[in-house]
């Protein structure tokens, strides 16, 4: 016997993500899904972004890692509400994991929620969490071939931050190729060359992000 199904396998996650988004919208919370390889500098970017915007917006953070609370401890030092999600082996954060962190927050007191996804250049791009925008980091030591090798994340992101730009003299990173390949995949991708260590280039990112948040809140 044949049974016709025609059902999207990720529907369960998409539905939860849509519900999350409705809740975020009700509270006028702007939500960023931050993705990159491990070690590209996501937590450093979160710290820099908090320091630049904490006087303008009430910020909260969800940290996703397979195990440990190392990242959450770093954010907690900045006196920002933070929840660590340990995925326990899963390679990404999904809509339901985000949901489980909700009781830890008072949404009426948050303008900007930054979700730092598990370090992984593949899977996180496939699972919506209810975010307004996906942002990705690529660091110069990783190599300029990443857009060509891992296209999905570059296609899905609203902005790409090329981090550790201060290491350019020491690593063979073809900036022109990385930008060209990334833009070929996603013409609307906004690219920033930054160093979360020295602070270079972060003004552009902060001002772009501020415009996105303010436009959303209107």
């Amino acid at each position: 016997m044949k049974v016709t199904v025609v059902k999207n396998v990720l529907d369960a996650n998409n539905r939860i993500a849509d519900d999350n988004r409705k809740l975020f919208d009700q509270h006028k919370m702007f939500v960023i899904n931050l993705m990159s390889s491990p070690g590209a500098g996501k937590t450093s970017l979160v710290e820099r972004t908090i320091l630049a915007l904490r006087d303008k917006y009430r910020i909260a953070v969800i940290e996703g890692d397979i195990q440990d609370t190392y990242d959450a401890d770093r954010i907690a030092k900045l006196d920002i509400p933070v929840v660590q999600i340990n995925t326990g082996g899963a390679c990404h954060i999904d809509g339901n994991m985000i949901r489980e962190a909700f009781p830890s927050f008072d949404f009426s007191k948050i303008d900007l929620l930054i979700v730092e996804n598990v370090g992984n250049l593949v899977c996180p791009a496939e699972f919506k969490i209810g975010e307004n925008i996906k942002i990705m980091l690529l660091s110069t030591p990783e190599g300029a071939d990443k857009p060509a090798k891992y296209p999905l994340m570059f296609q899905e992101s609203a902005a790409l931050l090329i981090n550790k730009i201060d290491l350019m003299p020491y690593v063979d990173f073809d900036l022109v190729k990385a930008k060209r390949d990334a833009l070929a995949l996603n013409k609307d991708l906004k690219i920033f060359e930054v160093s979360c260590k020295t602070g270079t280039g972060l003004d552009g990112w902060i001002s772009w992000l501020t415009k996105r948040i303010d436009a959303f809140k209107k």
Binding site: K2, V3, N8, V9, L10, E126, L152
Partner: protein
């Protein structure tokens, strides 16, 4: 590793249909996904086999229909099937290219059941 999550979702969906239609055994499941959607069919079958044990889906074969990746080139105005999306037109080398198909998410189309 996301294949584990996806396999679990497939098994849950089949469980819902088994409860609704009263079947006890699934012989095969036909599924479709876009070539560029980051699904690895062999890994998914393996994850599925492991997790389906003891459910109506146990032993079912996964029959994949892989949908082609297609780009549209604004320079030569062609629609071309591609193996990967590089942002360059394989015909004229133009860079004004958009991906029009190939990232479709995994769908279950049909179950063959007893």
């Amino acid at each position: 590793m996301h294949e584990l999550y996806i396999a679990e979702s497939i098994i849950n969906i089949i469980g819902d249909y088994a409860a609704r239609d009263g079947f006890e055994k699934v012989n095969s499941i036909s599924l479709s996904y876009g070539r560029l959607s980051c699904i690895e069919s062999k890994t998914l079958q393996f994850a599925f086999d492991v997790q389906a044990k003891g459910t109506p889906a146990e032993g079912a074969a996964l029959d994949f229909k892989i949908l082609p990746a297609v780009i549209h080139c604004f320079s030569c105005e062609k629609d071309l099937e591609v193996k990967s999306h590089t942002g360059t037109c394989p015909s004229c080398g133009g860079l004004e290219v958009v991906l029009t198909a190939g990232t479709e998410e995994l769908k279950i189309l049909e179950l063959d059941v007893d």
